[in-house]
């Protein structure tokens, strides 16, 4: 009988996440849904510009909370008839 080989805990933990951080996740979702307008609108709302790279920590936190909400809506809609692009 063959023994099942388990990955060590260290191996699993050291494996990189699909998304390294919020920035990568939101970027990936933005590209997936093409919701750059929503991203820009949220960015302008929290900072009056659209350059995420120069956000302060506070602006970034606000942005993540608000744009995360947008992404959540797109994700939820994707599961329904609304999510099928046509």
């Amino acid at each position: 009988m063959n023994e099942i080989e388990f990955h060590s805990v260290d191996e699993i933990i050291s494996e990189p996440d699909k998304y390294r951080n919020d920035h990568d996740y939101l970027n990936a979702m933005c590209e997936h849904f093409g919701c750059h307008l929503s991203r820009d609108i949220i960015a302008v709302t929290v900072s009056s510009h659209t350059n995420l790279e120069i956000f302060t920590a506070n602006e970034w936190d606000q942005f993540v909370a608000l744009f995360g909400r947008v992404i959540a809506q797109f994700l939820a809609a994707e599961e329904t008839i609304y999510g099928r692009p046509h």
Binding site: C35, H36, L37, I41, R69, F74, A77, T80, Y82
Partner: protein, 192 residues
Amino acid sequence: MDVHTELLNDSALEDEGTSSIQRHLFQQWERTGGLINENLHQYLLRLTDDLVLFGMPIHSDIPAITHVGRKSLAGKVMGSGWRTELKNLGNDDAVAAAYRRACQGEPTLEQVKFTTTRHGKLFVLEYKRLVLMIRTPKGFPFLATFSAQERLGCEPHPLASLQNRVVGLRPSNSHVLLGSDAEPIARHSLSA
């Protein structure tokens, strides 16, 4: 508290009785059928402070709100208390009809009359609301609204003194009606 809505004919979208921004927004939207291109992107971005954005209605007829512009009617005039009031009214149909029509891809303009009581005074807010379904360049939809105020009236409520004396009503926190600044962040829903 009461809300009355009436869907207007498509011709109203080009009528001079409709605000110039609503007419222009409709024209911009119509050029691409609501699909965002660079022009529409830039145009809508300039309206950031005036727009209210929603997801699509999924679990109910009322979609979740994702953005409230600082100068939008919802952010500037109605305040956060109005959402709770409308929910308590239990008449989602009055505000959901516009979303339902917009979700079919139809540009939707409606006349809204919102009546409520603050500190024993009766307030009447009338406005036109444009509801549009917009698609990202990848084809994923969301809803955008632009509301133009037409009338904000105030008059003593016939039962005001009695209400204040006997019930001690706790006022809602509508910003305009109470005179404080509006919050730009979205806690609103329903008909913004």
